[in-house]
Every structure is written in structure tokens, then in C-alpha cells.
């Protein structure tokens, strides 16, 4: 394969465990120097997919290519792919430096080279001088960085990270996200992160895939996936959203008009062309909902009562119960005139059609 060929290519890969289909005829390309995230709930097959790439499982069907080479039948120790385990899997009987040196010693590098590269790696993961410690003498965050260093020191073409932040506390997780992104930039290695946490994927990844039942349901940049979900599942899984269900009753330029079972008439942008009468779901992000006093701008929305008002991270979050019974979430920056609204008030909640997506699936 020539230049521009993907680093990793999966072609129709399937894997079953008994009657359970973990990975279902999945194809995926990952280019060089990319931070890629596999996002999905537990049991969606993302961990199986990662183990297929690492070589701990062999696919029932399909091929796995790395840099144009078919590695489907290669055992894990011969693949130029390294993995950072969720439990970190640090060797408890070895010091930090020995843990990091392990992969290089398997390659038969000279003592001098190993020493130099271990020292470099300790610096990259910000653990200089801790090479003599044992894993059980380190904090959780330090262990995570040893695991990262150990997986990176062999300069793999591809680094797999299985829930790399799951074992860290909230604050540390936040800092570590940026450290991982920096490590990816500095090494130029492609990172594939498996995670169930959509925030993690949104923050770190250049591109992400949302998985469900062994298949990729949508793939794209975090922004595309957040703003242009192609299915109700993706819209609901990635970020918070409001759903309105109804039937298409009319077309409008670039979109549809739908009527909910409770009688709300709502306009929305739509990528597909559903026939009149089709059941569709409109997804509107909380930050795209607008609040106003009832009676002033009464289109594309409904009247309701504010049931909750919380202030969090510089944003005002509202929960509004519409007259139809639907609960709507709304989020706005402080100072956008939302301060005058509070619990118990009757309000009109609306959205612009171009901020809504009508989804057929």
C-alpha cells in the first residue's frame, strides 16, 4: 500500500462468544497520528474490538491490517501494537524502571540504550527519579503514568488504551486527559482509547466512533457527532438532549414539521426525507433551548412551568414541565437575561428549527 494508507484497517471483523455477537462485521480505518476514541456502553463490544487489535482474540471472520500488513494471525507478542490496561497490569515484583524496561529487554536492546530510553520515558510521563520505586509505593495517578510509559517506550505504531482514566478521581482525570493528548502529540503515535465516558472521548479525540451491539453506529469528529447525530441512540448517548416524538405532517425548506401526540407543532431541520406520517424524533440540545415570557414569541415551542433551577459551572440549568407533560432541560450562560427566571414561573420554551435535528432512526 502506498502513502496515505491507513495505519490500521479492520475489514468486516466479527467475533462471537457462544451465542453472543461481540463484534459484528465491523470495518474501520485509523490513519497515522490520530487520537481515536471508541465510545459505547459496557457490553457494546468495544473491549472485544480492542483485544482483537492487540491480538488477544482472533476474529471469527474478517482481517486486521496494520500499515498494510495482514496481522490477523499474528500472536500479541509479535504485533507492533501496545496496550495500556485498565487495571494498568504493572508487574508487582519489578521496580518502575524495570517495568518500563520490560518491553525493550524483550527486544534485546543494549543495557545502555535501555537505560537512556527508560530515563527519557520517565521524564515524558513526569516521574523522574521514581525509577526505583515499586508499583505498590505509587499513587493511582503515578501508576497510570508508569503504565503509559511502559506501553509507549517501545514506540509502537499504535497504542491502545482501555478505559485509561476510569481508576482516577475526577480532578486527576481532568488533568490526565490533557497529559494523554500531549503524549499523543509528542510521540506521533496513533492512540485508540476505549471509553464509556462521552466527556473523555469528546475532550481528547480527533475522531470518535459510537458503538452499539458490536457495530459502529456513527463515526466522526466529536463536534460532528454532537451537532449532527444520525440516530436517536447517538443523540441520547453523546451529551444531554431533549427528545420530542411525533409524526411528520408537512415539509419546510431543509426540514420537516411534525406534530407530537400531545398536539405540539414543531419545525426542525432534517437530513433525511421522511414521507408524511413517518414517526420521527427531534433532538434539541439543552443549550439550544430558549426561554421567554409567555405570549411574546409563541412559535416552535410550548408553555410550561419551571420546576428546577440549578447553577453549575457558570451555567444556569432549568428543568421545565410543559403543559403537555414533557420535561425539558435547558441550559444557558449566566447574564443572558436568564436571571429573571426562577422556579415556579410560567414560561415559553422554544428552539430555532436549525438547532434541532429530526431523526428517523
Amino acid at each position: 500500500m502506498g502513502k496515505g494508507a491507513p495505519l490500521l484497517r479492520l475489514e468486516g471483523v466479527s467475533k462471537c462468544y457462544g451465542a453472543t455477537v461481540a463484534v459484528d462485521a465491523l470495518s474501520l480505518d485509523i490513519p497515522h497520528n490520530e487520537f481515536f476514541a471508541l465510545l459505547g456502553p459496557s457490553g457494546c463490544g468495544k473491549t472485544s474490538l480492542m483485544r482483537l487489535i492487540a491480538g488477544f482474540e482472533t476474529p471469527d471472520k474478517g482481517r486486521v491490517f496494520l500499515d498494510g500488513l495482514d496481522i490477523t494471525d499474528l500472536p500479541p507478542h509479535l504485533r507492533p501494537v501496545n496496550m495500556m490496561f485498565q487495571s494498568y497490569a504493572l508487574f508487582p515484583h519489578m521496580s518502575v524502571a524495570k517495568n518500563i524496561a520490560f518491553g525493550l529487554r524483550q527486544e534485546g536492546r543494549t543495557r545502555k540504550e535501555i537505560f537512556a530510553r527508560v530515563e527519557d520515558m520517565l521524564r515524558l510521563v513526569q516521574l523522574p527519579g521514581l525509577g526505583d520505586r515499586r508499583p505498590d509505593q505509587l499513587s493511582g495517578g503515578q501508576r497510570q503514568r508508569v503504565a503509559l510509559g511502559r506501553a509507549l517506550v517501545k514506540r509502537p505504531k499504535l497504542l491502545l488504551l482501555d478505559e485509561p482514566l476510569a481508576a482516577l478521581d475526577r480532578k486527576l482525570r481532568h488533568e490526565t486527559q490533557f497529559e494523554l493528548m500531549q503524549a499523543q502529540r509528542e510521540t506521533g503515535t496513533s492512540f485508540v482509547v476505549v471509553t464509556h465516558d462521552q466527556d473523555e472521548a469528546m475532550v481528547m479525540a480527533h475522531r470518535m466512533a459510537v458503538m452499539r451491539a458490536g457495530q459502529i453506529v456513527q463515526i466522526g469528529s466529536p463536534r460532528e457527532i454532537y451537532e449532527e447525530p444520525t440516530s436517536r441512540h447517538v443523540a441520547g448517548f453523546v451529551g444531554e438532549t431533549n427528545f420530542f416524538e411525533g409524526r411528520v405532517i408537512q415539509y419546510m425548506p431543509g426540514g420537516v414539521v411534525l406534530e407530537t401526540s400531545k398536539g405540539l407543532r414543531l419545525e426542525s431541520f432534517c437530513r433525511d426525507h421522511p414521507v408524511i406520517g413517518t414517526r420521527v424524533t427531534i433532538s434539541v440540545r439543552p443549550e439550544n433551548m430558549r426561554l421567554s415570557a409567555p405570549g411574546i414569541l409563541s412559535s416552535n415551542g410550548g408553555i410550561g412551568e419551571i420546576v428546577d433551577h440549578v447553577f453549575r459551572e457558570g451555567m444556569s440549568s432549568f428543568r421545565i414541565r410543559l403543559e403537555t407533560g414533557d420535561i425539558v432541560h435547558l441550559r444557558q450562560n449566566q447574564g443572558e437575561g436568564v436571571l429573571s427566571f426562577d422556579r415556579g414561573m410560567r414560561v415559553f420554551v422554544s428552539f430555532a428549527p436549525e438547532h434541532a435535528r429530526a431523526l428517523v432512526r
Binding site: 492487540a54 491480538g55 488477544f56 500472536p75 500479541p76 507478542h77 509479535l78 501494537v81 501496545n82 496496550m83 490496561f85 487495571s87 497490569a89 508487574f91 508487582p92 515484583h93 520490560f102 518491553g103 524483550q106 527486544e107 515499586r134 508499583p135 505498590d136 511502559r150 506501553a151 517501545k154
Partner: protein, 264 residues
């Protein structure tokens, strides 16, 4: 009495220890007795240790016992470790329950029966009894202890460590040598020491499976006792107690020493 040890507690504790250790303490004490009479205290002396080292029969028996114990413990460790892997790692193979049952049977089977069974087997096959038949007998007993200890270790073994090693370029054989073996070595050492002490102080199986020229130390002590108790017996018993005690101390400290690092 801040730590909560009342007089009653102390008395019970003392009673318990006395029940367990007074007989052993007496053997050790009387081994330093200068009197010829085993039961009369005649002052401190180490003369019986001197005469012990001149008693070639006892020394020969001790040397046979030690050699048997070493070989049997080594065999038990290798076979017991293999058995532990088979039980823990090979999934649900056919006859697994029977395999586990027959492996653990010697733990609960009366030794007389094991001895008798082995005797019948060796006679039936026409195998001359001696050093190696005792080794085989002791290995059957020792390997189940090794299996129990090593398997306990494998149950708590984090297999992602082995996957991590392979991911970093170690072949399955290298993974076993650099990761699995060092991590189960304490259990294997503990199992070795257990098998060693079991072989060292076994009397029943040895008396069924020994032949001419392969009299073990416990057998020699027993036969000398029938001719009359000599203080030498006390002396050699004291040495034996010391050896077994050291082995058991090692075995338990190895098992315990390794425990904290697994907790994380």
C-alpha cells in the same frame, strides 16, 4: 491491662501453650541432660550431641531421610505446580472432578492405607523397595500440599499481567519465566518446605515402602526406642524439631510476606 489481656486470658493462653509445647520442651531440655537416665535431671551437658555424632547408624538414617526429603519435595513441587495449573487454567476438561478428587485424596486418606496401597503396588509390580519407593510414597503425599498452596496463589493471580507481558513482546515461554514463575515462586517455595517437612517426619508410609539399607530417621529412632530410651534420641529429636521448625517458619513467612503487595 490496657490491651485487654486479663488474668483469665493469660491463664487460658498459658494452658494452651503448655498443652501444645511442654512435651516438646521436655525433649529439648532432656537432650542437654548429663545424666544417663532419661528421666532424671543430672545437670547441663552437651555430651549426647557428641555421642550422637559418633553414632553412625543414626547419622546414616538422618542422611537418608534428608536426601529422600529433598528429592520428594522437589518432585512434589514440580508435579504439584503442574497439577495446580491444570486445575486452575485448563477450564472444565473431562474428568476434572475426578482429577481434583484423586489429587486431594491423600490429604484425608489415613496414611496406613496409602502405605499399604503402595506396598501392594510395589510388590505386585515386583519393584524392589528402597530409597526410590519411599520417595514415590512421599511425593504422593507432598504433591497435594504443593497443589493446594500453589493453586491458592493462582486463584488470586491477575492474568492481565501475563497479557501485558505478551503485549510488550514476551513469548508465552518468556512470559511464564519472567512474570508467572516469579509471582508464584513464594507459593512454590512454601509448598516445597511443607513437602520437605512432611517427608522428613513421616514414619508410616516409610515403614511400608522402605527396604533394606533405606531406614529413615523416624524409623531408626523408633527401633532404638524399643531397645531402650537413650538421651541420644532426645538430642536427635531436638535437631529434627529445630529443622522442621525453621522450615515451617520460612514457609509461613514467605506466604505472609508476599501478601501485602497483592492487596493493591
Amino acid at each position: 491491662m490496657k490491651r485487654g489481656l486479663s488474668a483469665v486470658h493469660l491463664a487460658v493462653l498459658a494452658g494452651g501453650f503448655a498443652f501444645l509445647y511442654v512435651p516438646i520442651a521436655l525433649v529439648i531440655l532432656y537432650s542437654f541432660n548429663s545424666s544417663r537416665l532419661v528421666t532424671v535431671w543430672g545437670g547441663f551437658s552437651t555430651q549426647w550431641y557428641m555421642s550422637l555424632f559418633a553414632n553412625e547408624q543414626l547419622l546414616a538414617a538422618a542422611s537418608i531421610s534428608l536426601r529422600i526429603a529433598l528429592v520428594a519435595a522437589a518432585l512434589s513441587t514440580v508435579l504439584g505446580t503442574c497439577a495446580a495449573f491444570a486445575l486452575q487454567r485448563f477450564g472444565r476438561f473431562r474428568l476434572r472432578m475426578m482429577f481434583a478428587g484423586s489429587l486431594y485424596a491423600p490429604l484425608v486418606m489415613p496414611e496406613v492405607i496409602i502405605g499399604l496401597a503402595l506396598l501392594l503396588l510395589f510388590v505386585g509390580l515386583g519393584i524392589g523397595r528402597g530409597f526410590w519407593t519411599i520417595v514415590i510414597g512421599h511425593t504422593t503425599l507432598g504433591l497435594c500440599f504443593v497443589t493446594v498452596v500453589v493453586r491458592a496463589r493462582l486463584v488470586g493471580f491477575d492474568r492481565t499481567l501475563e497479557e501485558a507481558a505478551q503485549d510488550l513482546g514476551a513469548s508465552p515461554a518468556q512470559t511464564f519465566r519472567t512474570i508467572t514463575l516469579p509471582l508464584i515462586a513464594p507459593a512454590m517455595a512454601a509448598g516445597f518446605l511443607l513437602a520437605f517437612t512432611i517427608s522428613l517426619d513421616d514414619f508410616v508410609i516409610a515403614s511400608f515402602t522402605s527396604g533394606p539399607g533405606s531406614t529413615t530417621l523416624p524409623m531408626r529412632i523408633y527401633s532404638q526406642m524399643r531397645l531402650g530410651l537413650t538421651p541420644e534420641i532426645n538430642a536427635i529429636s531436638t535437631l529434627l524439631i529445630g529443622l522442621v521448625g525453621v522450615c515451617l517458619l520460612f514457609a509461613t513467612s514467605i506466604i505472609r510476606f508476599r501478601a501485602p503487595s497483592e492487596a493493591q
